[in-house]
Symmetry: C2
Subunit: 123 residues, 2 copies
DNA sequence: TCAACAGTTCCGAATTTCTGAACTACGGAA
DNA sequence: TTCCGTAGTTCAGAAATTCGGAACTGTTGA
């Protein structure tokens, strides 16, 4: 297995982020990952409720998320641990991830403190 | 020529917005359109500096932008007038368009007053 | 009626996406 | 050590999408 590629923060491109998150399945995966308490393994995320994502497709979704800079993946024993790079990303693209998740109606609790411009003026 | 389709505000899907703006050429077009004073015709937007977009590709870019709900197109005589739907969009997806354009380093002056959560807390 | 222009549609080539099947990597049991 | 089971990756070919030149449509002005 070839080593996993993760772009450096400064190499993350907005078009890659938007492309990765223009697929509702990937958004669902990313949003679940951003939810504290989720193990972050592939198999834990395959079930979308209405359909189970084939594992080759799932693996590809993780690759797209990883190489766009949205998540970090690390092998831990037999499984893969995935976590979002939200904090870093918010530094580089302030408010971007947050407003995307809000648009999808997927803002998880953990992210509610991500951007400072949060609930300052009543909304 | 078949009539131009524009989605109603409530039918606009975030995945379509992100997909449309995951292409840097379309972002460049959209950002130019958002700039006050730009005529908004296709031919006025074909020149990207480093390359001229073929007109069939350009027409397709406009179609993607239009059908995702990002712009409104209206025939005016022989040419087509295009304008962004930023104000409406910001109502439906607060802060989204703004943070995307900021991420691309493309925030035009007109939009600086778009979102209320702007420069409230120093940045 | 015709020519010129702005933009759209068509269609074939190139690229990308999808997913089942085969494969690799690791851990545990014997 | 060898074998097995589990987690995930890679491969490969079918399907879908994108790209862009050529032909076409709609509009204005002569």
């Amino acid at each position: 297995m070839r080593p996993l590629f993760h772009p450096a923060l400064e190499d993350i491109r907005p078009e890659a982020i938007l492309y990765a998150l223009s697929d509702p399945e990937r958004v669902a995966i990313f949003a679940k990952l951003a939810t504290a308490g989720c193990g972050g393994t592939c198999s834990a995320l395959a079930d979308l409720g209405d359909r189970v994502i084939p594992k080759s497709s799932l693996s590809n979704h993780f690759k797209v998320l990883r190489e766009s800079g949205l998540i970090r993946s690390e092998r831990q024993g037999v499984e893969m641990r995935n976590q979002t790079r939200c904090a870093e990303l918010d530094e580089r693209f302030p408010g971007l991830i947050r407003s995307i998740l809000v648009a999808y109606g997927q803002l998880p609790g953990q992210l509610e403190t991500m951007s400072r411009e949060k609930s300052r003026d009543g909304q």
